[in-house]
Symmetry: D2
């Protein structure tokens, strides 16, 4: 997590202030439940809420931790400084540090997921708007980087929309994976704390009780969460790569918006580089690198070990902050993408008429020519275009074998671009609804 | 995929025979749909079914491919050899190779997922059965590898059950991710093929039509699929690590079943090594290694490139075959795991009474001792056990400060093991249902 | 490891036949050393060499292993079947299975490294030859995919040469990493076997004795080996990506060689796709996926566990076979790459004269114009080229502010392409030697 | 990079202040070289050194960058503010941003490597000292987590020493990989800058000139660098896992030093958890996660793209800071590790005499018993120890078949522990030198 690739709302989720605030809420709600169960005095539970509006002193807590080398004890000591040692006596009773830490981590991940979902909604909006705008903007479809058959810019954007909509669904599922809390005490047996405390705290914090925890919430949940972020990041890369290709000098079908003050290069003033999508390509790698360690975190020793903790301190903020930034940046890129329909048409005509070869091939087959022969007929004329810059239509019209099978009109009819867009509406209906 | 870690049913899904069979079915169903649309003659479509019971000649297809360097064309050529060039003329019309290849890959992944789901059901059964058997088999709970408080072997197995049940749900979702097909023609525009063909073929093959494809089915779906396998493998590792710990000489709370003919070591005949779970630890790494390349496969150039193909030829079979083998092996391990309840009890008593320290701490707090003081009282007696092998109960009873707060009876009552199992039923109900 | 991406020499290294042959040699050499030390009878040692020319019966060994569930014991049993139980009595004395297995694995990796080094030599030859051929073939240099300043195709190939030469050095180092053997007995203490046995066996097998082993050879060596393969694979990807870019329709500065019988697409016969380099992009991902599991293999429990074994059974063959195939394929691609110097020149002129902007900027600065002003002057003329297809030279000549600083001759002199190639020889001398 | 896992010297390398300082030095040295070549006025070059002792104003540079969106231009603008626009006119002439950025990154990596080398030296010292101390401290050697044969704590530490010494050599090689600089101008042709500038700057900055750069230094170098850090981290994990095993309650052969004020658990005061080595296990995952993105960074488009940049901004600091912290932490753990030789002996005797089975097996073989029979004889007595807690020596002495082959004295002699340590000196000499 570095400022350059961070946005404040996501950063705030991971601040010490937020963390201590969540710790406090968990402890306070647990006291309420314990009081209701008659385990601790009601007044003690009530007293904890005295700190309701307190901003905890992060520096002071750090100071205590430097001595105790234990963060939760440090926080509880500081809390006692605020509400009084006597009232604080029953705080945390029957709980372990992990009850607080793990539940807090999940609260943070859930909040992070909520921000990411909002990011994705904005991205989906932008993709949809631009897809609609360019529904029938014809451009070359390419397989292997080679011209294939025409498609439209709208279809390109629609497929990114569909991919991101799938990612949104995955993120909703990933959010549910980590939306659990555990207040189950040492090794998770509830020996020293009633399950009702967990139920109450979870309900208050917007979580489900973890059905079976072992002092820690099982880490397969988090592995799934970070794996999902990795998939989303890979889709970000997918869109970024498309735009980088579109912007390369020889293609130039689109460009990232280039503001007036911006300088592309200290040496070559004419250059307009797709730096945002290049950056997104790198950010995708960064989000993805959390996936393997998150999976390595699953196999903890016995009821728990603490090896996952350092990993999560890093990847929790890093992966969510970076993905949040990336999604927002991508939304901006899509929103303001400068599209050049005329360049798209110019590119399509680079090999004069050649993109219609598939249709001619089919026409020949349907006219009774064997598949192999048809292939040969098309290929020999195509090669003239490819190698000598001939016009494909002219060559076909001049090829006696082709003409033996197809009339001039039949051949000419195969060079109609609208033929390729006839199902755009069908596909849009599938993607965006009727 | 190596024979040592393979089972035949999963291997069969990835055989050339199965692949060509699926290709054939897709082509034949497509012909039916094309005939119904009037695009090709009904007799031609019907003729394709002449090959219905043919075993395709893999060697012959390979031979043709050696010339054409194109696998689908090689297959179609071979198919024409069987049903006749004339009848074969309309096969594959308007389609691209990817229509066949991608739909086939997804059929294979769906079938693989079905086998894996069956594997997981067997594993869940074994885990549940053994969990019930050892519901109240008390053993030491450990955090950081250090004795913490008692738990039960049943809870250990129940948490693995819960984790694998989550994995089953994830796998159902992952199966749905890849249960799509595409027959959308070059660059996915349906220019040369009606969407109804896709609908018909998908329905016949048990798939959903891909809402928007671009000659290829988008690879974020597969990234999610393999990521899910990676999470499942991490859970396999989690269980394997637990058993390896239980079997280590100093712990010896359980052992993998050791058949009569088996030799543990060429040098040390007394050794019984947890080789199955060690093996599972390695297999988990192997399944997991598919995750990153599957994510790197998402960003294809424009409408498609073929870089994903070699990756999938390897990880498709490897990850599913290895995970299938691992799940079956793990099921066997769980099913026949030799559990030693008496060793569990012996281990628990290693530090005489020390595991009850938490309860004593709470009792002191509840008796009005401040948290800090109670902590000190417990710690000073605990250290005598730790360092000099004293008996914790004796020390507490002899500690005047402790006795000032708690009666002998009160102290003794804290050394009751059943205290720790009182919520086992609660947790089992959460995991297995009431 | 799949046949499609395999070459026979590398596959042979990993065959059961080779493996058993190496096992045999290790055991036989160990017997020699033991006999020399007087530990076993000389005749027994000599008898082992009776099997010198025997092809071991893999099926028979598998059969025995099915009973014993231990591969080395199975092999030794089979060996005894060949040389006689009596003579076989002293074979493997004082050794453990790992002595044989680990030393064998390293012999295989060393042989694999030797093949890979030969592959790299062939690749370096091809790169050098083509670099020399195109030393002064001018093409556009691009940063961010955007035209920057001219370079040459020779420089492109020379940088790949330099990168692969570095990789060759790395591979030599990686080979040395794994060129160790261990015959140190149970837990590596030499309690039951003299270190001289290890020395003798290693010398005979072309290895160094592992200074300290613990029944296994430490796995940091293998982690380094596979990490190095991962770096080499990433360089393969780097070259592949360059060629894919060069072949894309709008660029078309080079093409993979396209043989006569080859068909590019079942649907679009004119297409010539960079399928080899796309394939290499995928193969790079496959080689790279071995890196993380190899690193996860380092942390074995105590003196050894067997978790690394399944990983190595897979990645040992897979990573080396795939990389061998990839290097050979890449060599073929480079060797036969069809280069289009005229297209390179056409692309360079896409924005008429704009590539010389940097030189004009410098000339202005040197003529006393402030950096900021010079930048503005260049940029305003550059934008006319960019946006309206103007000729950069014409625009500059017509710009009074530019002309106030630079004469017509001075401006024209900045449009000379050879200016950019003046240090090509310097760089070639650095890369290939004087 | 988070404060909790950071040390100030390494953090300082990555501060904006250090970065700008290196940028400045590169620009100033380049001016010197340009002046010497007569390209720029000597006075201008001299003027740049006016800023020699200036602390650059990071906030001001950020402010400028917010407008220009280009960091190097922002810095140059700020530099001009300090030394005067007129004098600054020739700064950066003929260079590109990447000349500065890439050379700077490598300077930082080299400095980071130097710190890491110092860390490793300290670690090696600690390992050696403790290895010498426990050279003959006998402990159980374990394979598969199961008791095998005796070894010594010194050997354990010596193998970690040997592994880390290898890692030190690797790091020296990795440092050399990135110890290059490039001042080669746009797309690396030296068209606008003489190679002598690069030579001068590199010599001044302690680097070698990159033989062929393309505006960027090739990223295979950095991939190798981070891969090496990943291997080192895996070795850190290896040592950490060993200590965690030793500290687990049932083993308790060693403990991390536990300071007086430290609290192990908020709930269980007697617990002393191996939290440092658990933490190191997690930190190893964090360092390792940089490896794959660093490899993905190798394949940049054409002469360069900027996708690597965001990755390096994160993993450059993160991986080096985390590894620096981890190595220092590990050194502290080793340095102060509390070793329990008596517990080691107690553990060894858990299965009374069983660890000597291998020696008895060999003795039987040497006494003329067939290998198979000897194995059976040993195994049947071993099983009595294993299953019924018998004493292995007693059982053997009472076994008529064993006694038929071996005298009582012969059997008793096999139960001598020093037998296992007879080559400790040999191994120590190999590892630490004679």
């Amino acid at each position: 997590m570095i400022p350059r690739y961070s946005r404040p709302d996501m950063v705030a989720i991971w601040s010490p202030e937020t963390k201590f605030r969540i710790w406090y809420e968990i402890e306070a709600h647990a006291c309420d439940a314990q009081a209701k169960l008659g385990v601790i005095p009601s007044e003690s539970a009530a007293a904890v809420w005295k700190a309701k509006d307190v901003e905890f002193d992060v520096a002071r807590i750090d100071e205590i931790e430097a001595v105790t080398k234990h963060d939760v004890i440090a926080f509880l000591t500081h809390l006692a400084e605020i509400i009084g040692n006597d009232e604080a006596r029953f705080v945390h009773q029957g709980m372990t540090s992990s009850d607080v830490l793990d539940t807090t981590f999940n609260v943070q991940l859930v909040r992070a997921a909520d921000l990411l979902l909002a990011d994705m909604d904005a991205l989906l909006d932008a993709l949809k708007r631009r897809a609609m705008e360019h529904k029938f903007t014809i451009r070359m479809g390419r397989s292997h980087g080679i011209h294939a058959e025409p498609t439209t810019m709208g279809l390109t954007l629609a497929r990114f929309y569909a991919e991101m909509a799938r990612n949104r669904d995955r993120l909703v599922a990933a959010r549910a994976e980590v939306a659990t809390g555990a207040i189950s005490g040492a090794v998770g047996t509830f020996a020293n704390i009633d399950p009702e405390v967990e139920e109450h705290v979870c309900a208050q914090m917007g979580l489900q009780p973890e059905p079976i925890s072992t002092q820690v919430i099982p880490r397969d949940r988090h592995a799934m969460f970070f794996a999902t972020l990795g998939v989303i990041a890979s889709s970000v890369e997918n869109i970024a790569i498309e735009i980088r290709h579109m912007q390369r000098t020889e293609v130039l079908e689109a460009e990232e918006f280039f503001s007036k003050g911006q300088k592309g290069s200290s040496a070559m003033p004419h250059k307009r580089n797709p730096v945002l999508t290049e950056n997104l390509t790198g950010l995708a790698r960064l989000v993805r690198m959390a996936v393997v360690p998150a999976m390595e975190n699953v196999a903890l020793w016995h009821e728990r070990d603490i090896s996952h903790s350092s990993v999560e301190r890093m990847i929790g903020p890093d992966a969510t902050v970076t993905l949040d930034f990336a999604l927002a940046r991508l939304t901006g890129v899509i929103d303001k993408l400068v599209v050049y329909p005329d360049h798209m048409m110019t590119n399509m005509n680079k090999f004069r008429g050649l993109i219609h070869s598939q249709r001619v091939l089919l026409a020949l087959t349907q006219a009774g020519v064997s598949r192999e022969t048809a292939y040969t007929l098309v290929q020999r004329n195509a090669m003239k275009v490819w190698e000598h810059g001939a016009d494909f239509l002219d060559e076909l019209l001049a090829d006696a074998d082709v003409r033996a099978a197809l009339s001039e009109e039949a051949i000419r009819s195969k060079f109609d671009l609208e033929y390729h867009t006839k199902h755009v509406e069908t596909i849009f209906a599938r993607v965006f609804g009727a």
